[in-house]
């Protein structure tokens, strides 16, 4: 079974670059302020979500294992 993830975006840092939305298309979406929201943390594979987090130009994305709390990114 796929790992359950907790994914969130720090809105103090997010500049709405939308690179995450273009990589993990089912996980991230821009809200009305044009900042990213992780609206479906199970939408993409872990690999794709980590790729999106890595490509955030302001390191605003955080990924954890929802069950163990293990930090997966950064």
């Amino acid at each position: 079974m796929a790992r359950k993830l907790r994914v969130w975006v720090d809105h103090q840092a997010c500049v709405g670059n939308a690179m995450c939305e273009s990589i993990a298309t089912r996980t991230f979406r821009l809200n009305e302020n044009r900042q990213s929201e992780a609206f479906d943390p199970g939408g993409d594979s872990l690999e794709t979500i980590l790729e999106a987090a890595e490509n955030c130009p302001v390191s605003a994305i955080f990924v954890e294992d929802a069950e163990t709390g293990e930090r997966l990114f950064p």
């Binding site: 500049v15 709405g16 044009r34 890595e54 955030c56 130009p57 302001v58």
Partner: protein
């Protein structure tokens, strides 16, 4: 409130010397201001700037492609042919594209510039700063612009591009011509076109070579974009030149303007010296906010848009001013205060939205390493000259020189 008394020449000596008073007044009195002289909108408030940059579908970045008008300020009529060449050159820059092309082009380059990959360059940057400061110490004097702010970013971007060290001087020579893009002189088209042709001629054989023998350098990344059919050859050449320029000009200003901010705020300099390693990061953010390297960026309206009761018509020219947004009291308490512990500090020195500066992390790493090293090595740093001059640019906040002593 009426704003008929705002004078619209943005190149006068007092506006160039102190953009904050002039653009601050527009921000307070007429935040979305129609500049009669240049027939363009000046957008000056922080909230409007973030809204505008995040609504890229309303405000096109394809300024050169979409604007049939001659440039502003005016140029010599005999140079209109040169302007056509310059327009075609500029239009091929990836930053001059809108989605979906912009995303496709940016994705070719983006992986090279992620925070993690840029962090890997920190030891190189640190060593380069050390070498430059060793040389200055030996000489016993330093012009921060000539001896530190200029050579450091050129050295770093040249290394990333895989350009031979001996050619850095030539790159800088071409870059200085390209800086006329933000200037107001009637005859500025000639040096600009020379710079552009010179860059294309210079990078052309490098690209030829990297197409055949790719490495892990930046030109190879662009050349790979051509192989994938995303870039044309002209786009590879123009974007290599763009990154050579953008990769250093802005950082030069961060270093020089930041150093000056410390020289003029001794209390903050004392504070940095107490913990250079710990404060280098927030200090760099405050330098970026307080005296931002880039003053303004252009857009062109993609459709009719209303902002603060004004109607911006499709194809209207727009310029958004980082210099005023970063001093907006609505976004920053006590905005005129240089405070290296400021938190939060969500400045817009790198813009915002899908066009947020690709090289932001690199600029940050360079700024952090410079301010940390200066505080550690030159605790008695002082400005030597009282009168400092800036380049007459509407785009860049660039000092001409910054001589210092430390004895």
């Amino acid at each position: 409130m009426t704003a008929t008394h705002i004078q619209d020449d943005m190149f006068t000596p007092d506006v160039i010397a102190d953009p904050y008073t002039y653009y601050g007044r527009i921000r307070d009195e007429d935040p979305v201001h129609w500049n009669e002289k240049y027939a363009m909108w000046a957008v000056t408030r922080y909230d409007d700037l973030t809204w505008l940059t995040r609504h890229h579908e309303l405000f096109s970045s394809a300024v050169f492609k979409n604007d049939p008008r001659p440039p502003y300020p005016d140029i010599n009529e005999s140079d209109l042919g040169l302007y056509e060449y310059i327009k075609n050159y500029q239009a091929d820059q990836f930053i001059q594209h809108d989605r979906p092309e912009h995303l496709e082009m940016r994705r070719v380059l983006h992986g090279f510039f992620t925070p993690r990959s840029m962090e890997a360059w920190r030891p190189f940057v640190r060593a380069a700063v050390k070498d430059l400061l060793d040389a200055a110490e030996e000489k016993g004097e330093m012009d921060v612009m000539r001896d530190l702010a200029t050579p450091l970013p050129v050295l770093v971007i040249a290394e990333m591009m895989g350009v031979p060290p001996a050619e850095r001087q030539y790159i800088r020579h071409l870059a200085e011509k390209l800086l006329y893009i933000g200037r107001g002189e009637y005859d500025r088209m000639k040096p600009l076109a020379e710079g552009m042709r010179g860059m294309v001629d210079y990078v052309s054989p490098l690209v030829d070579e990297r197409i055949v023998n790719p490495g892990d350098d930046f030109i190879s990344v662009l050349a790979n974009g051509e192989k994938k059919g995303i870039f044309t050859r002209h786009e590879v050449l123009v974007n290599t030149s763009l990154l050579l320029l953008a990769g250093h000009e802005t950082t030069i200003n961060l270093i020089c303007n930041g150093a000056l901010s410390f020289l003029r705020h001794q209390d903050q300099w004392e504070l940095l010296k107490q913990d250079p390693a710990g404060l280098a990061k927030p200090a760099t953010e405050e330098c970026l906010r307080y005296d931002s390297p880039v003053k303004s960026i252009q857009r062109i309206a993609a459709q009719d848009v209303e902002m603060r009761g004004k109607v911006l018509r499709k194809d209207d020219r727009i310029r958004w001013f980082i210099s005023s947004a970063n001093r907006d009291p609505v976004a920053f308490p006590d905005p005129e205060k240089f405070d290296i512990t400021r938190h939060p500090n969500q400045h817009v020195a790198f813009g915002s939205g899908v066009h947020h500066c690709l090289g932001a992390t690199l600029a940050r790493v360079e700024g952090q390493e410079v301010f940390k090293a200066l505080a550690e090595r030159f605790p008695r740093l002082q400005a030597e000259a009282a009168d400092l001059e800036y380049q007459p640019s509407i785009t860049f906040r660039s000092l001409k020189s910054l001589p210092v002593t430390w004895h």
